[in-house]
C-alpha cells in the first residue's frame, strides 16, 4: 500500500511539474465553457438588415420597427432599389434584407451559411407574424371602442383575427432558447472524456516510451497497481473539473440544475470511470505518447464532438453515422445529462443510458484485462 501511495504522489508530481499540463487540465474546462457559452453560440444577435420599402406605409414601417426592437436584428439602412441588395451582400455589409412588395414580403438571406440563414428567416417570420397578429387584435380593440358606429368594423376585425391562424410556439425546459442549455452537457462530456481517456492513455504511454515501464515491471509491484495509481490523479482532476463546470454553468451561464444533483453526480462518476477504462484500453495497445494522443483525439474526441449531438443534431445525420454514434459512451452520457440537468428527470428516465454506460464499462474492463501486458510484448 505504501508503494501505491507513493506512485499516486509521483503521478501528481508529473502533472504539477509540467506547467502546461496543469494549465490545460484546470483551465481548459473554464475556457471551453466560456468560449462555447458566450462566444460560439447558435443564437443570433444584432444581425444588420436592409429594407427596400417602396410603399413606406404604416404596416411596413411597423414591421421594420418590430424587427429592430427585437434583440436579433438591427436596421442597417433603407435602400432604394432591389439591385442594391446584392451589392450589400457582396460587400458583406449585411446578410439579411426585407423587400416589401404588393401583398407580399420577401425575405432575402445569405445562403453561404445555411444555418444562420434559416435561423434568421425563422426569427423574422415569427416576428412578422406576431406583428400582424398584434395589429389584428389592436384593430379588434379599436373596433370595440367605436362599436356604436355599427357592426361592420367588428365583423371585419374578427374576420381578420380568424383569417390568420398562427401557431403559438412554446419551448419546454429551455423557454428562452438559450444555447447554453445544450452546450453544458456536451462540454461536460467532452472535458471528462478528454481528461480521463486522453490523459490516462498518454501518461501510461509515456512510461512505455521513456522506458520507465520496463524498470517498473521488473519489480514486485503488481502491474495492475501501477495502472491504478495512474488513474487516481486523473480521477481527482476530473471530479474537480466536474465541479468547476457545474459552478460555471449555474452561476455564469445561468443554466440551472433542474434535476437531482446527486443523480447528476452519480451519472458523471459513472462516465468518468468508463472514460478512465477507455484510456487504459488505449494505452494497452499503444507504445508511444503521440499514438495515444492521436487515437484518443481522432477516435474519441472528434467523433464525440460531431456524433454526440453537441453541435449537430444526431437525427439529421446519415444513418451509418447515427449507428456509429451509438458506440460512443459520450453520446449516452450527454443524453442522460440533458435529461437530468435540463429536463429535471429522475433515475427512471435515464435507466437506458445508465445501463448502456455500465455495459460499455464492463466490456472495456474485460478487454483491458485480457489485453493487459505483464511483459513488454
Amino acid at each position: 500500500m505504501r508503494s501505491f501511495r507513493i506512485f499516486v504522489q509521483k503521478e501528481f508530481f508529473h502533472i504539477m511539474r509540467d506547467r502546461w499540463t496543469t494549465l490545460i487540465l484546470l483551465v481548459l474546462p473554464i475556457l471551453m465553457i466560456i468560449l462555447f457559452g458566450f462566444g460560439i453560440t447558435t443564437e443570433i444577435r444584432n444581425t444588420k438588415f436592409a429594407v427596400y420599402d417602396p410603399s413606406g406605409d404604416y404596416t411596413t414601417r411597423g414591421i421594420v420597427n418590430k424587427l429592430e426592437s427585437s434583440e436579433y436584428f438591427t436596421l442597417e439602412r433603407y435602400i432604394d432599389s432591389e439591385d442594391e441588395i446584392e451589392r450589400l451582400f457582396r460587400r458583406g455589409e449585411t446578410g439579411f434584407a426585407i423587400v416589401f412588395g404588393d401583398n407580399r414580403i420577401l425575405l432575402i438571406a445569405d445562403g453561404t451559411d445555411p444555418n444562420t440563414a434559416s435561423v434568421l428567416t425563422n426569427y423574422a417570420t415569427a416576428l412578422i407574424n406576431s406583428y400582424l397578429q398584434e395589429s389584428a387584435v389592436r384593430q379588434v380593440g379599436g373596433g370595440a371602442a367605436t362599436d356604436v358606429a355599427g357592426d361592420p368594423p367588428v365583423a371585419s376585425a374578427t374576420a381578420a383575427a380568424h383569417r390568420t391562424i398562427t401557431p403559438e410556439i412554446r419551448l419546454l425546459y429551455n423557454p428562452s432558447l438559450k444555447s447554453a442549455y445544450n452546450i453544458v452537457p456536451g462540454i461536460m462530456g467532452m472535458i471528462l472524456m478528454l481528461i480521463c481517456a486522453m490523459m490516462t492513455s498518454v501518461s501510461i504511454a509515456r512510461e512505455k516510451e521513456l522506458g520507465t515501464m520496463e524498470v517498473l515491471l521488473v519489480s514486485p509491484m503488481k502491474p495492475f497497481l501501477i495502472i491504478l495509481s495512474k488513474i487516481v490523479p486523473y480521477f481527482t482532476i476530473s471530479v474537480i473539473n466536474y465541479i468547476t463546470i457545474l459552478l460555471l454553468s449555474v452561476f455564469v451561464l445561468k443554466v440551472p440544475i433542474a434535476g437531482s444533483l446527486i443523480l447528476l453526480s452519480g451519472l458523471s462518476l459513472l462516465f468518468i470511470f468508463v472514460s478512465l477504462l477507455l484510456g487504459i484500453l488505449i494505452s494497452s495497445v499503444v507504445d508511444k505518447q503521440i499514438t495515444a494522443l492521436l487515437i484518443s483525439g481522432m477516435m474519441l474526441m472528434m467523433p464525440a464532438v460531431f456524433l454526440s449531438g453537441l453541435m449537430f443534431p444526431i437525427e439529421s445525420m446519415p444513418e451509418v453515422l447515427q449507428w456509429l454514434s451509438h458506440i460512443l459512451p459520450v453520446k449516452w452520457f450527454i443524453i442522460a445529462v440533458r435529461s437530468v440537468m435540463v429536463k429535471g428527470l429522475g433515475i427512471s428516465s435515464i435507466l437506458q443510458e445508465v445501463s448502456i454506460l455500465i455495459g460499455m464499462g464492463i466490456i472495456i474492463l474485460i478487454i483491458s484485462i485480457k489485453k493487459f501486458k505483464y511483459r513488454l510484448e
Partner: protein, 324 residues
C-alpha cells in the same frame, strides 16, 4: 536440477525471433530475425559476467528475457533457480535491472527517484544505504536537482543506485557505460568490483572490448550467438596465432598490401594501426616474422613501415572470430 539451482543464471538453448525488424543493419530486414539464436551458458554466483558485442548483437533482448520482460520462443532460462517464464514474479523480486536507455523520471528529483524505487521494492533508502553509499555519495549534493538536469555519468550513477537500492541478488546492467565519459566509466567499473565483494552477481553488457578484462568471465556475442564464452585470459590464450601491429605512411593502401602479403591470414584496422595474424612459427623458415613482413612490404613499395609483434587482446580475438 540441483546443479542449475546453485548457479546464478543458467540458460539452455535460448532463442528469440522478432517477426520484423525495421532497418536491420545488414539490409536483410525481411522475415524473422533471430535476436537470440540458441544460446546456452551459466553464470556463477558472485561473479561479474560480461556480454560483449556490437550494437544489434542481441544483448538487450537477452537481458530482457532474463529479466522476465520478454518470453523466449524456445529454450529455457533460470535466474537463481527460478524459471523466467513460470516464476517471473519471484525473479522480479530479487533482481535489479538497469536498461540501456536512461529510464528514470526526468521531472522528478534525484532523491524522489531513489525513494520511488526503494518503495517499489518495499524498502527504504535508509535500510540499504550502505549498498549505494559509494555511488549515491557523489549524487547527494544534487539530491534536490531534477534527474533530467544531471550529466550522463551522474544519470548512470543514479540509475545504478535505483537498481541497487533493494539489495538485489542478481544485477543486470545493460550497457551502463555507453555514452558516458572515461572517468565515469572507470568509476562505474570500480563500483561494480565493490558490489561483487558484497556477493551480488552482476551481468553486464557493453560494446567496449577494453572493458572485457574487468569481468570475471565474458561472452562474445554476435548476431544472436555467443561466439565464445570464457575468462578473458582464457580467450586471449586460445588465440593461437602470431599477431603483428603494422603502421605505414599510406594506411589505406597498406591494408590492401597486407592482404596480398605472403603468410598473412587476416588483416583488420585496429585503432591507428593494422593488426595482422599469421601462423605461429614452429621453427620453419616460411614463418612470418616482424622483420620478414617489413622487408616484404618495403619491397612492394610501402614507405615508413613499422612492424611490431604484439600480444592479442580480447578485441583481436573477437575480430579473429568474426573473420571466420
Amino acid at each position: 536440477m540441483e546443479e542449475s539451482n546453485s548457479k546464478a543464471i543458467s540458460v539452455k538453448a535460448l532463442a528469440k525471433n522478432f517477426g520484423k525488424v525495421m532497418g536491420g543493419g545488414d539490409g536483410s530486414g525481411s522475415g524473422a530475425v533471430a535476436a537470440v539464436a540458441g544460446i546456452s551458458f551459466e553464470v556463477e554466483r558472485g561473479e561479474i559476467f560480461g556480454v560483449i558485442g556490437p550494437d544489434g548483437a542481441g544483448k538487450t533482448t537477452l537481458f530482457r528475457i532474463l529479466t522476465t520482460l520478454l518470453l523466449p520462443d524456445s529454450g529455457e532460462a533460470k535466474v537463481m533457480g527460478y524459471d523466467t517464464v513460470k516464476d517471473y514474479r519471484e525473479i522480479r523480486k530479487i533482481v535489479g535491472y538497469m536498461p540501456g536507455k536512461f529510464s528514470l523520471y526526468q521531472d522528478l528529483t534525484v532523491e524522489e527517484n531513489l525513494k520511488i524505487f526503494a518503495t517499489l521494492f518495499n524498502t527504504t533508502i535508509e535500510e540499504n544505504y550502505h549498498l549505494i553509499k559509494d555511488i549515491y555519495g557523489h549524487l547527494e549534493p544534487f539530491k534536490k536537482r531534477r534527474a533530467g538536469a544531471l550529466s550522463g555519468g551522474m544519470k548512470q550513477k543514479l540509475a545504478l543506485s535505483c537498481a541497487l537500492i533493494h539489495k538485489p541478488e542478481v544485477l543486470f546492467l545493460d550497457e551502463p557505460t555507453t555514452g558516458i565519459d572515461p572517468v565515469s566509466r572507470k568509476e562505474l567499473w570500480e563500483m561494480l568490483g565493490r558490489l561483487k565483494k558484497q556477493g551480488i552477481t552482476i551481468v553486464v553488457s557493453t560494446p567496449y572490448m577494453d572493458e572485457a578484462s574487468l569481468c570475471d568471465r565474458i561472452a562474445l556475442m554476435q548476431e544472436g550467438k555467443f561466439l565464445m564464452c570464457d575468462r578473458p585470459q582464457a580467450i586471449i590464450d586460445s588465440f593461437g596465432k602470431n599477431l603483428f601491429s603494422v603502421k605505414g605512411d599510406n594506411m589505406g593502401a597498406l591494408l590492401d598490401g597486407l592482404r596480398e602479403a605472403k603468410g598473412v591470414l587476416s588483416c583488420f584496422a585496429f585503432g591507428d594501426s593494422h593488426h595482422i595474424t599469421a601462423e605461429k612459427d614452429n621453427g620453419t623458415s616460411s614463418a612470418v616474422t616482424a622483420a620478414s613482413l617489413k622487408a616484404e612490404l618495403e619491397r612492394a613499395g610501402f614507405e615508413g613501415v613499422e612492424v611490431t609483434k604484439t600480444e592479442p587482446s580480447v578485441e583481436d580475438c573477437f575480430m579473429e572470430l568474426l573473420s571466420k
